[in-house]
């Protein structure tokens, strides 16, 4: 039996390894020796045009003559603002255009096979097995009535792909240049839960009888590696050989004890691969019991279940916290590296693209405006749009925005001047809002103990300065904002406004407080009443506080619109007709209507595209310089904090982790958590747009 695996059958059916072609020293310079001319791309999109049919049959060009290429094992990023056609281009590869969308021209070639004009039946064969998809929204893309395991099982069954993994190893083996010959079917056998105990015992005996040193340590390592339903016979044999067993014994053990797994094992194995610990239990849970990050992992497991050659990931981690994003992407990268899967990912985050992708495609209004090696494109952008995008992208390298209103002779001077002023204010400034030992507890279902959403938080917002509260979802930062806004009552602790405890306010004081402390909320789509015209929305605070006459209010609304740089004509429009950034401007105008002292911005720019975000931040900054406003800025985005804040409070699980000036926090973070947050920022260490 043991000789059989050496009988010359090469599982890499269509893989030929040119060992000789590999230059001995492996540096970038010697790459010229490698013939890349004969290398066929995995996906070749040429002059792709996609139209949507609008009202009255009018064609809307969503994508216009877009071209890009993906090679096997490569990460390719498509970046662009919303509506640039990036998702549409990717979805047309899968033949999954929404609504009235249809391909009007160009070609999409997958492994030299034309996909445009293919029938639905052919697409069904293509999807899953050859091209996997990780959709954008983890919240809506899992069916809430089915267990996670059932849904992954479905994606395996749909492709008649219980266990095949041959393709995976074709590439991974050529990566390792391994010279192992195995029977092909062996390669598709996974460790089953019924075999694992025997496998471990036999291995222990074998290790002992071969007198291998540190057998116990090695065994532990092997046990950790051997994930039921994920490791193949081939991989088991390889790991045994690596640990010092001779080839024959290793293969004997592998052949006897890796005999295939049940579907259940397979599902658990896939979840484990996607980085969900305790996979067997997880598989029995429903999507509702998963957090956003866990759902995204489950979706990645589904996307990769059938070992596709290409994985299309549409903003796979945009909805997640940076640290979770980093973990998931690291894991995905590890997986795709071993599987040899190519990844086409869509993102709006330039840092992410720079860090992860080898090749980048920048799209603008349906056109590819620039493409090429990602670092080169992002460090030396040539098209004005790319330049604009790179310039606007906040990064850790960026500096505090300096408003044109306080700019002196030179930017550098102004920066220093501001720094000096900020330092003074932080040290001696008068506190507008002061928060002392704030605590908020919530009752969680099925739990006796109260959940401490905010746990002993103290800080003060100085007049004319910006204090940012940074943290991940669930850190309690928004709860703090709501308590400061007097929308939630704290359980203990004090909030002082100009030295007066807000909990002692009567209704008249409260109305006065509301007049001076204004919020700007996160969701530009939700914070404006869709029934109200823009005029009524901005006028509302004036009406509530009974300020002015009809004429004077109209004048004020016009002024406010001018202040946020919107034309007067939007007055008669409704929120539904405006973009997210424009709505956020309206929300700012509404907040400014009463001439407040403090603005509390809860994730005010998080939902916006990079360029729009930059503009809104500039607007906020200018308003601060002009009017001496104080900001309490709640955000999860450290790069934004760097641009706008003077002081930073870092929160984790309701507790204050670190508190300091922006420079202190960014340059000398003291706590591990802060460092972790800073490290997780995609492309944080890369400096983009070096020659801008």
């Amino acid at each position: 039996m043991s000789a059989k695996h050496n009988d010359g059958f090469d599982p890499r059916r269509n893989v030929t390894i040119h060992k000789d072609a590999v230059a001995p020293d492996w540096d970038a310079d010697t790459n010229d020796n490698i013939p890349t001319e004969d290398l066929a791309p995995l996906l070749e999109v040429t002059d792709l045009s996609v139209d949507f049919t609008g009202e009255k049959g009018r064609a809307i060009h969503a994508v216009d003559k877009a071209s890009f290429t993906v090679y096997p094992g490569q990460w390719v990023a498509i970046v662009g603002e919303s509506g640039s056609g990036k998702s549409t281009s990717a979805m047309s590869v899968l033949g999954l255009l929404p609504g009235t969308g249809h391909v009007t021209g160009g070609s999409i070639k997958f492994n030299e096979q034309e996909l445009v004009g293919m029938g639905e039946k052919d697409y069904e064969r293509l999807r899953g097995r050859y091209i996997g998809l990780v959709p954008q929204d983890p919240m809506s893309n899992l069916n809430p009535v089915w267990r996670i395991g059932t849904q992954i099982e479905e994606s395996l069954k749909a492709n008649h792909m219980d266990v095949a993994r041959e393709k995976r190893n074709a590439l991974s083996k050529s990566l390792q240049e391994a010279d192992v010959k195995v029977r092909r079917t062996d390669d598709e056998l996974f460790i089953g839960s019924q075999d694992i105990d025997d496998l471990v015992r036999t291995t222990q005996e074998a290790l002992a009888s071969s007198h291998i040193e540190n057998a116990q340590g090695k065994m532990r390592k092997l046990r950790h590696e051997w994930v039921v339903g994920s490791e193949t016979r081939w991989a088991v044999a390889q790991s045994l050989i690596r640990e010092g067993l001779d080839e024959e014994t290793a293969w004997k053990i592998a052949k006897n004890h890796v005999t295939g797994s049940s579907m259940k094992d397979r599902v658990a194995g896939l979840l484990d691969e996607a980085g969900l610990p305790d996979a067997a239990t997880r598989a029995r849970q429903y999507p509702g019991e998963f957090s956003g990050g866990m759902r995204q992992r489950a979706l990645i497991a589904m996307g990769l279940a059938s070992r596709p050659d290409l994985l299309i990931a549409d903003e796979p981690t945009s909805a997640l916290d940076v640290t979770v994003q980093k973990k998931i992407l690291d894991h995905l990268q590890e997986m795709t590296d071993t599987l040899g899967t190519a990844v086409l990912f869509i993102t709006h985050d330039l840092g992410l693209a720079a860090e992860r992708a080898q090749y980048i495609v920048v799209m603008y209004r349906g056109h590819v405006v620039e493409s090429g090696p990602s670092l080169e494109v992002l460090q030396h952008p040539q098209h004005p749009y790319t330049q604009r995008l790179v310039k606007a992208a906040p990064s850790l390298a960026s500096q505090r925005m300096i408003s044109a209103y306080e700019e002196g002779a030179q930017d550098a001077d102004a920066g220093l001047a501001h720094k000096q002023k900020a330092a003074d204010a932080i040290a001696n400034g008068q506190a507008v809002i002061e928060v002392q030992h704030l605590v908020k507890k919530f009752k969680l279902p099925h739990q006796k103990e109260m959940f401490r959403a905010v746990d002993d938080v103290s800080f003060s917002v100085k007049k004319g300065m910006t204090l940012a509260i940074v943290g991940e979802s669930g850190s309690g930062k928004s709860t703090v904002a709501n308590m400061v806004l007097h929308l939630l009552k704290q359980d203990s602790g004090k909030i002082l406004y100009n030295g007066v405890d807000t909990s002692t306010f009567n209704s008249k004081d409260l109305l006065n407080f509301r007049r001076h402390v204004q919020p700007v909320f996160q969701n530009p789509y939700g914070s404006l009443d869709p029934m109200y015209s823009i005029y009524r929305s901005i006028e509302e605070p004036l009406r509530i506080h009974k300020i002015g006459t009809k004429e004077s209010r109209l004048k004020r609304v016009k002024e406010l619109l001018d202040m946020v740089e919107l034309p007067e004509s939007v007055m008669n429009r409704h929120p539904g007709e405006l973009s997210g950034g424009q709505r956020q401007r309206i929300a700012i105008a509404r907040a400014m209507a009463l001439d407040p002292d403090v603005i509390i911005a809860d994730e005010a720019v998080s939902a916006l595209d990079v360029l729009v975000q930059d503009e809104v931040l500039r607007l906020l900054n200018d308003l601060q310089a002009q009017r001496g406003l104080s900001y309490l800025f709640i955000t999860h985005d450290l790069a934004v904090v760097r641009q706008i804040a003077d002081e930073v409070v870092v929160m984790e699980h309701g507790k204050m982790v670190e508190h300091g000036t922006t420079d202190e926090i960014f340059e000398h973070p003291e706590k591990d958590y802060t460092r972790e947050l800073l490290d997780a920022i995609p492309g944080g260490k890369l400096s983009l747009g070096v020659d801008l």
Partner: protein, 348 residues
């Protein structure tokens, strides 16, 4: 595979046209993963600025006409042919109800037994009923009773049901629990049964208000339920929080923000059920517990005509058709309004 233990024998995957054709070498894979070498087709490309003109960031499209949700709904409504048909019908019906004299010159209550079950003749296009009354005049004059009961009931239902539903949904907690149980209790009583029992007590009264009140009493519940759920979803929207933070009071939020945002499903339900109130009224008349005696009403006429169904079926036919057309017109209108207010079909 001969292995008996294998729970899932590996499936041979048939190669398809999507499989890789050209071989790939380890060296090539390394080159790809390394990322420093530009591969064919991935050379640097920069589009010319002339081809794709740059636009300002996030500019307002001032060319597009401004429109509110209502304006958009009206635009969709106007284009719907069903709306045009139903609204023409409803205009005629309303005119008949307001000015029956414009349509019929006979007095519906001036009857002469000489004409009993007489056929149509000049000036009397539908003929006469058993009492010798002009059927055409009675059909025209009967519109007022049916339509006014329908409209009045709808208004009452919207006010009562809407208010109770809104309060239950908006305040929640104990208020919601109590009101919801009340809604459940009324829901358990069938409209017709309740109406029959109640109307027995006012048997001889020929006032239309008794019908309106009875119908309202047993049909406000569905409106309350719909309003409650609409308010529940509208009250959690962020603009309410925003408005509170601006200094708005709770009640002000309810009437200025929450209710206006819950109106669409209320309007749809109201127009859809208007027709059913008219039917209910006719049914009650027919059963002899509704309007009685000398009131001109389709239900009463249908009820009276049933005894002559075999000898003179047309006496029953005309008021029935009038009733059917009216109900159809209102239900069609409700359908159109629903499509216009909710083009995505979310309310359904």
């Amino acid at each position: 595979m001969s292995n008996a233990n294998s729970v899932n024998p590996p499936v041979e995957q048939e190669p398809t046209e999507f499989d890789r054709k050209a071989p790939i070498s380890a060296a090539q894979v390394r080159v790809i993963e390394d990322g420093t070498t530009t591969l064919p087709g991935q050379e640097r490309f920069v589009a010319s600025v002339e081809d794709i003109p740059m636009q300002g960031i996030d500019q307002v499209d001032e060319a597009a006409p401004a429109s509110s949700m209502w304006a958009q709904a009206w635009r969709r409504l106007r284009r719907n042919p069903l709306f045009i048909v139903s609204s023409i019908l409803i205009v005629i019906i309303l005119l008949m109800a307001l000015f029956p004299g414009l349509f019929a010159h006979q007095n519906p209550t001036a009857c002469s037994l000489n004409d009993s079950i007489a056929g149509p003749r000049a000036g009397h296009p539908f003929g006469f009923d058993l009492q010798g009354c002009d059927i055409y005049a009675r059909v025209v004059y009967g519109t007022r009773t049916s339509v006014s009961i329908g409209i009045l009931t709808t208004i009452a239902v919207v006010i009562v049901g809407g208010l109770i539903g809104a309060i239950a949904g908006y305040f929640g907690g104990l208020v919601d629990s109590l009101l919801s149980r009340l809604i459940d209790i009324f829901y358990a009583v069938p409209l017709l049964l309740g109406a029959i029992v109640l109307l027995q007590m006012f048997h001889d009264d020929s006032n239309i208000w008794k019908i309106v009140i009875t119908l309202t009493l047993f049909s406000w519940v569905s409106m309350a339920r719909i309003t409650r759920s609409a308010v529940l979803s509208a009250k959690n929207l962020e603009f309410n929080t925003a408005s509170t933070a601006l200094g708005s009071s709770r009640m002000r939020n309810l009437f200025k923000h929450v209710l206006p945002n819950s109106l669409a499903p209320m309007i749809v339900t109201a127009t859809m059920s208007l027709g059913s109130y008219i039917v209910a009224e006719a049914t009650l008349d027919f059963l002899g517990v509704g309007l009685q005696g000398n009131v001109v009403s389709w239900g009463v006429d249908i009820s009276n005509a049933q005894s002559q169904l075999t000898s003179a079926p047309m006496i029953l036919f005309y008021p029935s058709v009038a009733l059917a057309i009216t109900v159809l017109a209102f239900i069609m209108l409700g359908d159109c309004v629903q499509d216009a207010l909710d083009p995505t079909g979310e309310l359904r």
